[in-house]
């Protein structure tokens, strides 16, 4: 199934609701749904907020979703400026105190913690990010560290 995402925050909200609905419809476990929903909210928000030049024509964002026996796979594509969230995003220090913590920078960090497999490539003018998650609940503690 493919969702086309309108390149604004309302479009992100609609897309995240659509992804959540699809995941629930596929019978995925609550925590799997939550992790995918949060990750897509963060990634899509970044794309519509920073991914495109102001007023760029043809801003295209799509999400393809599929499921097999063991995994759910989401492919996020956008034709914004090249951005690899796995390498180009700074890692926040989550041990800092209230006063020292910068405001922001957590979205991609949370995505990396919550999604088992993330892979990025730039192809034909598109950022292509694949998220793969086991379809059953994660084992306790394995997301630590």
């Amino acid at each position: 199934m493919r969702i086309s995402v309108s390149p604004d925050l309302e479009g992100v909200r609609d897309a995240v609701a659509g992804i959540e609905g699809w995941c629930i419809g596929q019978g995925l476990a609550d925590d799997v749904v939550f992790h995918l929903q949060l990750s897509m909210d963060e990634l899509l928000t970044n794309i519509v907020s920073y991914g495109f030049e102001e007023g760029a024509a043809d801003q295209t964002i799509t999400v393809d979703m599929r499921l097999d026996e063991s995994e759910v796979e989401l492919l996020l594509r956008d034709n914004g400026r090249p951005f690899n969230p796995l390498e180009d995003a700074a890692t926040p220090d989550v041990d800092l105190s209230v006063e020292d913590r910068p405001i922001g920078g957590l979205g991609i960090f949370l995505t990396k913690q919550f999604i088992r497999t993330l892979a990025y490539r730039r192809a034909e003018g598109f950022n292509c990010l694949t998220l793969k998650q086991p379809r059953s609940a994660a084992e306790p503690g394995e997301q630590d560290g």
Binding site: L9, E10, V12, R13, V16, D30, D31, F34, Q37, L38, D41, E42, T45, S49, V94, D95, L96, S97, V98, E99, R101, I103, G104, L106, G107, F109, L110, Q113, F114, Q143
Partner: protein, 112 residues
């Protein structure tokens, strides 16, 4: 999509948060929290029983409220936090910036 129902008691308050805090309404959430703190509240309990979702934009709003109440000698304590959201607090390190309790009563009593 997100609302806070607040009951006040001197410089303490309990806010029952309902709904989802996403990138669009995080500013509303921030504004609602600021409105509560502006009344002079330093000890703020957030009852999260009906909080369905919070992303990094919502955490930003929460951080601002934690800073302001800390500076006034109080803080933000949370209770009845759903498991998914508790995991977000742990992974993000926010669990160390707040305190989490099982019940509203425990959270309210936790301020020294």
């Amino acid at each position: 999509m997100v609302s806070i129902e607040v009951s006040y008691s001197g410089d303490s308050a309990v806010g029952a948060v309902k709904g989802r805090v996403d990138s669009i309404n995080a500013k509303d959430f921030e504004g609602e929290l600021a409105g509560v703190i502006d009344t002079g509240v330093t000890n703020l309990v957030l009852d999260c029983d009906e909080l369905v979702y919070i992303g990094s934009a919502g955490l930003r709003a929460l951080l601002i409220a934690i800073r302001r109440t800390n500076q006034a000698g109080g803080g933000v304590h949370m209770c009845r936090v759903p498991d998914n959201i508790l995991e977000v607090l742990k992974v993000s390190g926010f669990i160390r910036l707040t305190k989490v309790f099982d019940t509203v009563e425990e959270a309210t009593a936790s301020f020294g």
